[in-house]
């Protein structure tokens, strides 16, 4: 047991941050949960707007509008994760052994990440415009001019349950480079000896990737999955910029929360929604954090 005098200065040095995180993260989350359980009544009509307690949650989760938003979020998240993983891994494989002008390709693939969602949303709103043929702008117009009008699409405006898949396109554009950088860092962390050993054993390139390199990338893939997944679940800016704040078609819980808070003036419903978003993110992230924590304890 170490003496207090040894460790106390360390605790004191971190204390300001502990207080800030305690108040701004955990304190405020507590307040949001508190708000989400309130019972509210309309002043004029006496109509109960929020029944209070757990009933607030069952009411919101049971509503068609919220289920529509959750479905959109699911479609967006799955396409976003799969897309960034495919492009990120593919680009990393293309670059990992060093190619001519690697730095230029890497910068090109990574640059969308430096752009804000709100700025990217402006140009993607134009690119993903649903107008067709003579009226077409953006990608549809490009397809017409390239002589492949059949590729035209309604994108996220399509009257389809899968329309949010199109909203994932700009998100994939922005984050694939980041996933590539993670995988690239993972590839570079594998010692050259192992490739050499595999070659000496007569492994083909495919076998080398399949049995030697990919298994060692699984921690990187997990990190990338967590990072991209949680970004998708709280995605707000991009949808706000592309579809506008009031689009039902592209509604996800994060944009619905803005509508509940401002146009509808219902902070209780907004808080209920926010807590549900938090729980969804926590289901993804907490097992990962506990796993990381345990691994580090074990490894010292």
């Amino acid at each position: 047991m170490r003496k207090i005098r040894t460790w106390l200065p360390g605790l004191l040095l971190v204390l300001p941050s502990i207080i800030l995180i305690g108040v701004f993260v955990y304190g405020l989350i507590g307040q949001t949960i508190n708000t989400s359980l309130l019972r509210t009544q309309d002043f004029v009509t006496d109509k109960i707007t929020n029944p209070g307690g757990i009933a607030n949650y069952t009411a919101l989760l049971g509503s068609d509008r919220y289920q529509h938003a959750l479905w959109n979020l699911l479609v967006l998240t799955v396409v976003f994760i799969v897309g960034t993983m495919i492009f990120g891994l593919l680009w990393a494989i293309l670059l990992e052994r060093g190619v001519f002008a690697e730095g230029i390709f890497r910068s090109i693939y990574l640059f969308p990440m430096a752009v804000s969602f709100i700025a990217a949303g402006v140009v993607w709103r134009w690119l993903l415009s649903p107008a067709r043929d003579d009226q077409a702008v953006g990608l549809n117009q490009l397809f017409v001019q390239l002589g492949v009008p059949g590729l035209q699409s309604d994108w996220w405006s399509a009257n389809s349950r899968m329309s949010m898949a199109a909203m994932a396109i700009p998100a994939i554009w922005q984050l694939s480079g980041y996933v590539m950088a993670l995988f690239l860092a993972g590839f570079r962390g594998i010692s050259a000896d192992q490739r050499e050993a595999a070659r000496v054993d007569g492994a083909t390139e495919f076998q080398l990737y399949r049995h030697v390199l990919f298994p060692q990338l699984s921690p990187v893939a997990l990190s990338a999955l967590i990072i991209v997944g949680h970004m998708s679940m709280k995605m707000f800016d991009l949808i706000y910029a592309i579809a506008g704040p009031n689009s039902y078609q592209a509604e996800v819980p994060a944009t619905l929360m803005w509508i509940q808070l401002f146009p509808q003036g219902d902070p209780v419903a907004a808080a209920t929604n926010a807590v549900i978003i938090l729980v969804i993110v926590a289901i993804l992230v907490v097992p990962y954090l506990v796993h990381t924590h345990r691994t580090e304890q074990r490894d010292g």
Binding site: T32, V115, A282
Partner: protein, 299 residues
């Protein structure tokens, strides 16, 4: 990715992997590799092309069917209008991003030092609780945060607009900065050096100042880039906590681009103006950013 028939080519010329030292002989595989790399690069750059050509066209020339063509005559009117609309908020964003990046980096460095090398009982649990703060959806704190900051403003009248965002970005930047510095110190600072300092009677602050801080530059580069970019690019906090008169450039850009503004040249120029600072940061410091990813996120 590759075929069995192509494999002997590599076996005949065993190259040290991962160091870029492959002989640059033309093979079918290398050709395919570069073709794919160039196609993907063109696709990724396409939105940038649209932004550039549209921003340089005179307002009258932006007829819909010309959008993908290069401008016939170059006009800087769009850039001038965008600059006029955005420059006050660009300045505010710069203050915001620099202050938030510096403050949360300093806190992150101190915390990272303690969590890596000066642990206290329970420090691992506290660290994990910090990390969760990195992942929370800010929607979950936004409603009471607005209220708390309004209350605080009653006795701190300057805590509005940019100072308000500096506070928020500094606090919510602590977790990621702490993580990056902790991982960095855990690999970059050998325990033996700290033991030696302890034997020589150096206390914690002395140890930080004379041993840890001087080797911290790579960590600072990474956290400064990361925090600068996320504070600059943030829109959610800006939307909830500021307005067009005192908000950052993302807020004003959204106003410029939203509504019924038909002037595409100025909108697209505005996107470029608002994105240039972070793009410059990436182009100039991108190399360190990637090495930072290796020390920070890949764990």
């Amino acid at each position: 990715m590759s075929t069995a028939t192509a494999a002997p080519v590599d076996q005949a010329v065993p190259a040290p992997a991962g160091d870029g030292g492959r002989p640059r002989r033309f093979t079918v595989r290398a050709g395919l590799r570069y073709t794919l790399l160039i196609i993907f690069a063109i696709i990724v750059l396409m939105p940038l092309y649209v932004l550039l050509v549209t921003s340089l066209k005179p307002a009258s020339a932006i007829s819909a069917d010309q959008a993908w063509r290069l401008p016939v005559e170059i006009s800087t009117a769009g850039w001038a209008e965008a600059w006029g609309r955005l420059s006050p908020s660009l300045y505010r964003s710069l203050i915001l991003a620099v202050c938030a990046a510096v403050l949360s980096s300093i806190l992150g460095s101190l915390n990272g030092f303690v969590f890596a090398r000066w642990k206290f009982p329970g420090s691992n649990v506290v660290f994990t609780l910090f990390l969760f703060g990195m992942f929370i959806p800010y929607q979950a704190v936004m409603i009471p945060l607005q209220g708390m900051l309004l209350d605080a403003q009653a006795f701190l009248p300057w805590l509005d607009g940019i100072p308000r965002l500096i506070l928020v970005h500094t606090v919510y930047g602590i977790p990621i900065c702490t993580l990056i510095f902790r991982n960095y110190y855990a690999t970059a600072v050998p325990v033996e050096i700290l033991e030696a300092a302890k034997v020589d009677g150096a206390g914690m602050l002395r140890t930080y100042a004379s041993i840890i801080f001087p080797v911290s530059i790579p960590g600072f580069v990474v956290t400064l880039i990361w925090q600068f970019t996320s504070a600059w690019n943030d829109f959610l906090f800006a939307l909830f906590l500021t307005n067009a008169q005192n908000g950052p450039v993302t807020y004003v850009l959204n106003e410029l681009a939203g509504g019924q503004n038909p002037n595409y040249a100025s909108i697209m120029a505005g996107v470029l103006v608002a994105s240039l600072p972070t793009l410059i940061v990436y182009v100039v410091l991108g190399r360190w950013f990637i090495s930072g990813l290796m020390s920070g996120s890949v764990k």
